[in-house]
């Protein structure tokens, strides 16, 4: 069996869906952050898969460079998000997202 674009996209979609599910179901902010990371990785796999098998397969570097950028930005985003979570923890003594309801109308 040759591994084709279909397999890769299935893995990608699975990772993304697991990420969304985690994001929606977990109340713990850190777990939600980890879910977002899963979604990133799902997207990354899709990018790399299109780079390898897509229309532009002659120049695969474009999509791969894009994936590298996503990894970089994700790392930076984690730094910011964790710092925010730390501040939120100091303020509320918890990281449960449903406790952060000061904007409730």
């Amino acid at each position: 069996m040759t591994i084709g674009i279909t397999h890769l996209l299935v893995v990608s979609a699975a990772l993304f869906t697991i990420g969304i599910f985690g994001l929606l179901s977990r109340r713990n902010s850190i777990a939600m952050l980890m879910s977002v990371e899963l979604m990133f990785n799902g997207v990354n796999i899709a990018l790399v898969a299109f780079a390898r098998f897509g229309y532009n397969a002659v120049h695969p570097l474009t999509g791969m460079a894009f994936a590298l950028f996503v990894i970089t930005v994700a790392a930076a985003e984690v730094a910011v998000a964790v710092a925010l979570l730390l501040l939120a923890y100091r303020r509320h003594d918890t990281v449960q997202a449903d406790e952060f309801n000061e904007l409730k109308g």
């Binding site: 969304i20 994001l23 929606l24 179901s25 109340r27 939600m32 997202a97 449903d98 952060f100 309801n101 000061e102 904007l103 409730k104 109308g105």
Partner: protein
């Protein structure tokens, strides 16, 4: 030479602007006095030059500085004809009046140096007087209705500011407001006259051959319009008939009535006494109220083409003259006595204009300026010395204030028309005018009206001699009434800055009348008449006999009643006390206005707030409530739960993705996919 008129008009304006530069208010006063003095000197030069060229042609000198052109390209017609000229007009009338305005203003300012000493608004006072002088000089020298109306309103604003000079006093603020609003009624008449006249005459004026030396035919120009009115009366102007002329004349007359405080718009002038006394002198002698008479003199050719309106002018004037004289005889406030005296004298001027005695009206305006300014300035000195305005509390000023007393005596004699004083000559030339009853274009008022006017002017001659002397005997004769905090031995004459103007005016009150003697009188009439008018006014003995003897009789009666307190006459006076109380209230004209305004304006107006509360507010409240209800529903969406928000975002993106996919694959008609 006539270019000097620019400086005459603009010097007081410059002084008013510069009054705020110097460090002390005193120096500000010196600046405005200097500016007005410059105006006076130049206006005398222009007058003398003009007198030397009395037979010159053209009769008037129009000097244009700027012709206002309609903005942009417009087709022929209404707007394209709108090009009023900013400029000055020098003719006999303006050349004769400008020195009067400048001199009265100058003397009033010198007087105010002493009178207003220590006042908090000293600088503001002098700056506004200077601005007032500018507005009046500009009005006198205005070549057309356009500039005239600007200056007319400027005069109104300045009098508002000066009557309300002591604005902290509620009465002064109310009086200023009243003066402004009542004269507004007249202003509206004048404005309508200008607009209506423009709409009727602009096209025809534009079609005339050009005026020599001017870029355009100014559709507001007094002299061009005088020709137009004349032609319109002969039916030579398309679309304009005699009815238009009558409407125009009535509108102009309304303007003059408001400004010159004639019946029924006379109520603002007595209240204007709340202002400082020098301001009363200025308003009554040279500026403001004179503007109404001046307007009638300027537009006299229009009235000659509408003779019935001219009769109305005479009747209104005569009624006002009698009214003012009766009220002045009954009043006890020295300033209001003089104010009603002004109303009476302005009524005489209207009467003179109404019977065609044009130059007599201008002559009376000229002499009235001196003795009325004098009466107010002298009264101001007395008020300052006695600390009251009630003549019943005064008395004995003759021994204590000798110079002021002499000055006041001259003013009173002139106002009463005692023989050889200025008022005698001018009042009697008005009586002559009524007896002659001939318009410059040959018309006349009807015989019945003439009889009425003779009766009225006789009454005014008699009463007009009685009330000044009543005031004089009460204030200067006898002894002051005892009051708390008043010490008669401390009453003494004012300082030189207040006495010198009074003395100059006293001299003028005597000699100014000699313009009226045989020969000079004819020259004066010819000088102030518009070109082409038939000058038929000269010296005559009929009026002298009638007016002069009645004036002397009035003085005699006043002496017997108020000077000697003859018992029989005292008894008569007691009988008349009830009438006196009614008259002192101005025959309840104010109360009538208050009642009418309450019934016709205030009460109907009270209905309008109900529209506000019951319609507008209901709509607004309903809108607010429905918005609130909607907000209560919508706010549930803002649950504050992060997962819910995320879910919505995901569902939204999902729906968008499905939609885009469907569109891209051609499932929506006309969108995408067709490629």
């Amino acid at each position: 030479m006539y270019n000097l008129t620019w400086a005459i008009v603009l010097a007081p304006l410059g002084a008013a602007m510069m009054a705020y530069l110097p460090e002390t208010p005193r120096r500000a006063a010196y600046i405005t006095i200097l500016g007005t003095a410059a105006s006076l000197v130049l206006s005398i030069i222009v007058l003398v030059y003009r007198l030397g060229h009395i037979d010159n042609n053209p009769y008037q000198a129009l000097i244009t500085f700027w012709t206002i052109q309609p903005v942009g390209q417009v087709g022929p017609g209404f707007v394209a004809d709108f090009h009023p000229q900013v400029g000055i007009l020098v003719d006999g009338l303006s050349a004769a009046i400008m020195p009067v305005v400048a001199l009265v203003s100058l003397l009033v300012q010198v007087y105010s140096l002493g009178y207003m000493r220590g006042d908090a608004g000293y600088r503001r006072f002098f700056a506004t007087i200077s601005l007032f002088t500018f507005a009046m000089l500009g009005l006198v020298a205005s070549p057309n209705f356009f500039i005239f109306y600007f200056m007319w309103e400027g005069v109104g604003v300045c009098s508002y500011l000066l009557i309300g000079h002591w604005w902290q006093k509620p009465e002064a603020a109310a009086a200023a407001k009243k003066a402004f609003l009542v004269t507004r009624i007249g202003d509206l008449g004048l404005l309508l006259a200008i607009i209506f006249g423009f709409s009727k005459f602009a096209a025809h004026v534009a079609s005339l051959p050009g005026t020599p030396g001017q870029e355009v035919n100014d559709p507001f120009n007094f002299y061009l319009l005088a020709d137009e009115w004349h032609k319109a009366h002969a039916g030579l102007v398309p679309g304009v008939g005699t009815r238009t002329l009558v409407i125009l004349a009535v509108l102009v007359l309304i303007g003059a009535i408001g400004k010159s405080a004639q019946l029924p718009l006379s109520t603002w002038l007595p209240d204007a006494m709340e202002g400082p006394t020098p301001i009363s002198a200025l308003i009554h002698a040279a500026t403001m109220v004179a503007a109404g008479v001046y307007l009638l003199a300027r537009t006299y050719p229009l009235f000659l083409e509408a003779p019935h309106v001219l009769t109305a002018v005479a009747i209104i004037g005569a009624a006002t003259a009698v009214y003012g004289a009766v009220v002045a005889l009954a009043h006890t406030d020295i300033k209001r006595i003089i104010a009603y005296s002004t109303i009476s004298h302005l009524g005489l001027m209207f009467t003179a204009l109404g019977v065609g005695a044009y130059s007599a009206a201008v002559f009376h305006l000229f002499t009235h300026a001196w003795f009325k300014a004098l009466l107010f300035l002298a009264a101001g000195s007395v008020i300052k010395a006695y600390g009251t305005q009630d003549i019943r509390e005064m008395g004995g000023a003759w021994r204590r204030m000798r110079t002021t007393s002499w000055a006041m005596l001259f003013g009173v004699c002139s106002a009463a028309g005692v023989i050889f004083f200025a008022g005698f000559w001018s009042k009697d030339s008005i009586v002559n005018g009524i007896l002659r009853n001939e318009f410059p274009n040959g018309g006349h008022v009807s015989g019945a009206v003439k009889g009425l006017l003779i009766v009225a002017v006789s009454v005014v001659s008699l009463l007009g001699a009685m009330y000044p002397f009543r005031m004089f005997f009460k204030v200067f004769g006898g002894e002051p009434a005892r009051r708390r905090g008043f010490r008669p031995e401390r009453v003494r004459d004012s300082g030189p800055s207040m006495l010198i103007p009074s003395v100059i005016l006293a001299a003028l009150s005597l000699i100014a009348g000699f313009v009226g003697i045989e020969g000079a009188r004819y020259t004066f009439a010819k000088f102030v008449h518009a070109a082409g008018q038939n000058v038929n006014e000269g010296f005559a003995f009929g009026g002298v006999l009638l007016g002069g003897s009645l004036a002397l009789l009035g003085v005699g009666i006043a002496y017997l009643v108020y000077g000697r307190h003859v018992p029989v006459l005292e008894a008569v006076r007691e009988r008349m006390a009830a009438l006196g109380r009614v008259a002192a209230e101005g025959f309840y004209l104010d109360a009538a206005y208050a009642w009418a305004v309450d019934r016709l304006v205030v009460r109907p107006a009270a209905l309008f707030p109900r529209i506000d509360t019951e319609v507008t507010d209901a709509v607004a409240d309903g809108a607010v409530q429905s918005a609130g209800a909607a907000a209560l529903t919508v706010r549930r969406l803002q649950s504050g739960r992060l997962q819910l928000y995320t879910l919505r975002a995901v569902v939204g993106v999902g729906l968008l993705a499905v939609g885009v996919t469907l569109a891209a694959t051609g499932h929506f008609p006309g969108v995408g996919g067709s490629r």
